[in-house]
Symmetry: C2
Subunit: 799 residues, 2 copies
């Protein structure tokens, strides 16, 4: 291997690395005396020591070597820190590059600033111990592990000149999401996307155990990454004198290989999936810390994972720390508390600094989407119920044209775990294809290297890719089966937390919202059965900070269009849209839909008959199937109790139900009372788990009158209507609820109750005999109008 | 390759396969005319067609070949169906083996029974379309994908004579959990565990896309599995005449290799991790269905994923179906509607049938744990607050001896994503080690092939392994950081659904409950920061069927011991135990703790002063930190308002708060009212998100008086007490809440409010200066007793 580094360069790089290490140790331990000008004393050390040393020196090592190449080749590069608990490394490097002081002037480039840098770390009122939104140059929170490669690829998509250096810890490499995310290379287009340079950092140990990948033979490790489709190169050792040249050489070759791959693909067009380079770097955990402390192994062992000496009151520990820090020879590195000029010159400048690369502050690069007028996609609804449509298919026509209008800007993608067509977005395939650079067969359809529909059977990948895409300033939508979106519950958590923190960081510019379409809903998973029935993602979502979460349940296609348009314009939020894909009656024409969605909830006058004196009962509904059942119940009520005054309230924007003190979309009590009354029974048919409505409305005046029907965890493979019956959400149970709750009604409604019981028995007998719902139920629509028949879900393509 | 099959054997096996395929197609399509004795008509076909054909013939193919080996070698083998949507295959095979008719006598071994077999499938009142609890021989629900290998290994642990054949679909192979679960082989002991035989079924397509693993070059695919540590063998083709001998030969070699590996390890002891065989089987999706229908490709294409002809009203489709079914030549297979004797003779008998293997009905094999008396591990608590302990460490001492007492029975394991020590179970290492068969270094500690602590940095693996272990009749406990248990939200869902369904299946015997210890709790993740703060798993859990979920928040070590003992004895539930690991004051001696935990909640008389006339205010608390803050608040209230009558209610068993109509643990309104009053303010300090308490209590009389403090998604790297302050859960805010809510108190408490404000300012100033909590707060305990100092969490080993 030729030596690409002169001895002088190597020495400078080593000095820069020592500076980063010095600043990292300083952050973890020091409270004062940052340059160790005075002998170190206990009082100079923080009382509580929090942070992670183990991964940090490796992160610093990689960082300085990447800097060399950025400068040499004027690279546009960002750094994704998989082991993000190594926060000190990224903060140290941002400080060395000057970015930190630009963003946080108080942490200045002098001794006082260095002291603040140290003091603030993992300190109350300071900064988190992990890489976090507060860290310049980061798009990747250092809390939960496993998403680095997905984020990195999300960032690289449609950024042809960007190289994303992605450090993967060997701990996180054991997680499921990480294990599959290596396959992202089957979806990365060398012509129009950027590159990801994975660097697997084998430091051998997790918190308290060895790591799997550090303990398999070299040939297995190499085979694994060849199997993942990479061309792995190894940088292994612990002696900086040999490691610097080796790393420089290996990284330079990797970068040049990337550039050659891209140059070829861009000159000659895509021919086949490249074998991208990746690097396996094996260095000791806690590299350069004391090898033993108190006779216990530290360097190269799990004990250095966090803070090598927890107890600084123990005699000798302050001295050990002082010797350790002085081993970096700070006097050679800093001048007046500032990195010496010849070292500072090693870092790139301006936006080439990884800590200041605008891709890591995606909002700064955000280009608005060109949006067609969603009204143009309206379903004609001559009167309520007089049309049938598949809501998400209509949404797909709108998304098709959103895609089309923004093709040239390459800033919009759709993501789905192989459910894009199943959830009825297939019209988008008219204008773009599915991204795919793996092998193809002649009869494959709609696959292309430059496809903009991202489909891999991994919710984790879809979520991670989309997050990376949004965090670097682009737009997208995630389509998922409702039940299986729980797979990314924890990823959603982390993104929502990221957004919440960003709202308080002025320099972080707003990014496009993370939009979910949840379809293949609980009520129509009658065919896949119980395992596919779970509407609880909403419950999970609304535990996060109200400022960043929104939940919409449009009752029909036109409302879904209006909501979709809104979501695509929204910023810094997570929008959850719950909408069915099956043929269903349509209720509102476009004007009504816009009005309804803008209000977020409202009385459906055309379905109500309480204008004169107010209602005897409020029938509230939220979600498409509950809306159908509610209206069908109202139909029955009209028949049986023509005098009964019924008000129908439909809710699109779920968070309207909360008080404004709890959620920015909440409506005042006055408005809530006007809609729902304070004293009349409210029969609430809800798409999800019924308790959620109580959780949202418990402060409302009329709360004690609310009786909620929803999914109560009953279901199997059965018919669509039977799913409602099993959970007491069907029209008959709703009528029964009205009878039981409107004062005076029960006493003269025995015959109605009997009729309901008879009808439910007839239903059960019919479905057990025929296997499908009673035609009168299946084809029911408002006002008895004749419309195109609704269908139960059937087998065939992509149900 | 030598031919292990005679032509006659090959023909018989093919016939058996055709029989299984015939029954599979019949289940999907037929309503009547099961043996096609009459010409097939539309009325013989189901009105709604639901089910998945694509993966089914491959599953049948594997099944019959495994049967041959089971018979030949008298193997103890079970079948884990990763692509469990291929339900028809497993049902068909259980029927062919007779098991189905034994379990469901109505589905008899005759034409009438076959008709019922067909009719019931995916039909209302019948059986689910996927492999499900109803399916004999299954431990693996066919709904969500990705867990087959984890389940398979869970089943294999400690079952040395068991071979788990694990079919992995190429769709599910894209999921994260599956991608990492191949590494399970680093934890499987050839001496004392059974074997897993993975069979990757490459059928090329998912719902609507090609699969990644089917579209990488052969050398990459082989390298991938060599990299995962396996010895892959390939069975590829579509001609049954060549595929049967190839499969027979390959499977036989694999089984013999497994037996040789085991024989060597058992004779000579463990020497190194074996390279276990695995099989890649590449066959066309929908194998043997019509190649084209209506000019569209079906066999070998994504269109055959579900039902190859969705619309049976279309002219010609009935004829196509008839031809297709007749291509299996049913007349050669069945006699009087029963599998011909010479074919039936191919299947194993009795418990060797994979559909009747008792390991798949684990409750039938369940051996009770030997449990030491948990009282022996009690922390001495001379008076409330007069002792300090780390609750989960105490639990660890109890688990150590549970482990010890059951070592010889090999039926108890602990699972954790590298957090076992961090969550303070390290004492268990005194009696067993961590399972590990990968490479070791001389200074590694507590690793061994026969270790019973399972630690891989994948919550998915831990969950999947544990599920597989429990479903096959053993016991375990899962220790996890509270925030990251959300990673397995969806897996929990599926397991809870499985348990719920099993409760209604008489032949499924009760299994040991799935027990979680959640530690490293939100209130003490002050050091790792915001990303590590999420107490919402409880919210997620209680949406599942009340009969199968339990949630416990013991306030101290003795209560945790009592709860742990209860969980280890419990059956068919999911128990979530939330308990802290940091040194904390202890409240109850063992007798009190048992009494308290048995009641599930109760008044703490020693902290209350309302005996005479009832309380002015109820201070409710649930969770360890909220309990401390509540008692500290009561202390302050005594000081400031000695006349105020305060009642302290502590809740261990969260579900006690619900009415009995909602949860079996719920207490009657009368008892609830007696504890909480119906008219007095209730200040409720809760461990989790505050809304959860409202969701549980909204039906209670005193609900409108409940004011809940909990985690409201505020936090960062700060001090423990500051975490409480940021979320208004601290003692001072609680006192303030009392002042605001007890009538008449506010008017003469202005000075108290000022004192509280001053104290909170002092707190903020102190932590920003010193980085730690005020000593008076940190060391506070009930009654001002002097106890060993509590510590803030610090750096060092395994924080």
């Amino acid at each position: 291997m030729t030596n690409v580094l002169s001895d002088k360069e190597s020495a400078l790089i080593d000095a820069y690395w020592r500076a980063a290490n010095y600043l990292s140790v300083g952050q973890i331990y020091l409270f004062d005396n940052p340059l160790l000008k005075a002998p170190l004393e206990r009082r100079h050390v923080k009382p509580r020591l929090l942070g992670h040393w183990g991964t940090t020196p490796g992160l610093n090592f990689i960082y300085v070597h990447l800097n060399r190449l950025i400068k040499k080749y004027d690279l546009d590069m960002i750094y994704v820190t998989g082991p993000g608990h190594g926060g000190p490394a990224l903060v140290a490097n941002a400080y060395l590059e000057g970015t930190y002081s630009e963003v946080y002037p108080n942490v200045s480039q002098d001794e006082e600033g260095m002291k603040r840098l140290f003091t603030q770390f993992s300190f109350p009122g300071g900064i988190p111990s992990h890489v976090a939104p507060e860290t310049p140059g980061s798009i990747h929170e250092g809390g939960e592990l496993g998403y680095a490669m997905s984020h990195a690829h999300g960032a690289a998509f449609d950024n042809p000149n960007l190289i994303v250096a992605c450090v993967v810890g060997d701990g996180e490499a054991e997680t499921g999401p990480m294990a599959t995310s290596w396959h992202s290379n089957k979806f990365l287009n060398p012509v129009a996307d950027g590159a990801v340079l994975p660097i697997l950092h084998l430091n051998g140990y997790k918190i308290a155990n060895p790591t799997v990948l550090a303990r398999i033979p070299h040939d297995e490790l190499e085979a694994l990454f060849r199997g993942y489709g990479y061309d792995p190169r190894f940088v292994e050792g612990d002696d900086p004198n040999t490691m610097h040249p080796l790393m420089a050489e290996t990284l330079e070759k990797a970068v040049n290989d990337i550039r050659a791959i891209q140059a070829d693909a861009r000159a000659n067009g895509f021919s086949k999936r490249p074998k991208w380079p990746m690097i396996v770097m094996r260095t000791p955990k806690g590299w350069t810390c004391p090898k033993f402390i108190d006779g216990k192994r530290e360097e190269g062992y799990w004990r250095s994972h966090q803070v090598p000496m927890g107890d600084m009151d123990k005699p000798g520990h302050v001295g050990i720390l002082e010797d350790w820090m002085k081993s970096y020879r700070p006097e050679e590195l800093f001048e007046s508390g500032r990195l010496k000029a010849e070292l500072a010159a090693l870092a790139p400048s301006g936006v080439r600094r990884m800590s200041a690369n605008p891709h890591t502050n995606g909002g700064a690069l955000l280009r608005e989407l060109r949006l067609p007028d969603f009204r143009d996609y309206a379903v004609a609804v001559p009167s309520p119920g007089a049309a049938i449509a598949e809501a998400t298919r209509v949404m797909g026509t709108f998304l098709r044209d959103v895609m089309k209008l923004n093709l040239e800007f390459r800033n919009f993608r759709l993501f789905s775990p192989d459910e894009s067509n199943s959830n009825r977005w297939q019209d988008v395939l008219e204008v773009t294809k599915r991204a795919w650079v793996a092998e193809t067969l002649p009869y494959d359809d709609h696959l292309a290297p430059d496809g903009r529909i991202m489909e891999m059977l991994s919710e984790h990948q879809c979520q991670g890719w989309l997050e990376g895409y949004l965090l670097t300033g682009r737009h997208g939508f995630f389509s998922c089966y409702e039940a299986f979106i729980h797979i990314i519950d924890s990823m959603f958590n982390q993104h929502a937390k990221w957004l919440k923190v960003c709202k308080d960081i002025e320099w972080r510019r707003p990014i496009s919202s993370l939009n979910y379409l949840l379809s293949s809903l609980v009520w129509r998973q009658d065919h896949n059965g119980f395992s596919h029935q779970d509407p609880g993602f909403i419950d999970h979502v609304i535990n996060k900070k109200a400022e960043v979460v929104r939940v919409y349940l449009p009752p029909d296609a036109n409302c879904l269009l209006s909501v979709t348009d809104h979501c695509l314009r929204s910023r810094n939020c997570v929008n959850v849209v719950v909408a069915g894909k099956q043929p269903s009656p349509q209720w509102l024409d476009m004007d009504q839909a816009i009005k309804h969605c803008t209000a977020g909830l409202g009385i459906w006058e055309w379905a109500s008959n309480d204008k004169e004196d107010g209602p005897d009962v409020v029938m509230a509904c939220c979600g498409d199937v509950p809306t159908i059942e509610t209206l069908a119940a109202v139909d029955l009520l009209r028949h049986y109790f023509p005098q009964l005054k019924v008000r129908v309230v439909n809710i699109v924007d779920l968070m309207r139900l909360q008080p404004p003190s709890e959620h920015p979309h909440g409506i005042p009590d006055r408005d809530f009372d006007a809609l729902f009354t304070v004293d009349k029974p409210i029969i609430f048919a809800f798409h999800g788990y019924p308790w959620l409505i109580h959780r949202l409305t418990y402060r409302r005046h009329g709360h004690d009158n609310i009786h909620v029907r929803g999914y109560k965890e009953e279901g199997t493979t059965t018919t669509p209507f039977d799913m409602c019956v099993l959970n007491d959400l069907d029209r008959f149970h709703l009528v029964n609820d009205v009878i039981d709750r409107v004062p005076g009604l029960a006493s003269h409604a025995a015959y109605v109750k009997q009729a309901i019981r008879d009808k439910l028995i007839e239903h059960k007998e019919y479905i057990r005999r025929v296997g499908d719902d009673l035609p009168e139920i299946k084809n029911w629509t408002w006002g008895g109008k004749t419309v195109a028949s609704q269908h139960s879900s059937t087998g065939g393509d992509n149900v």
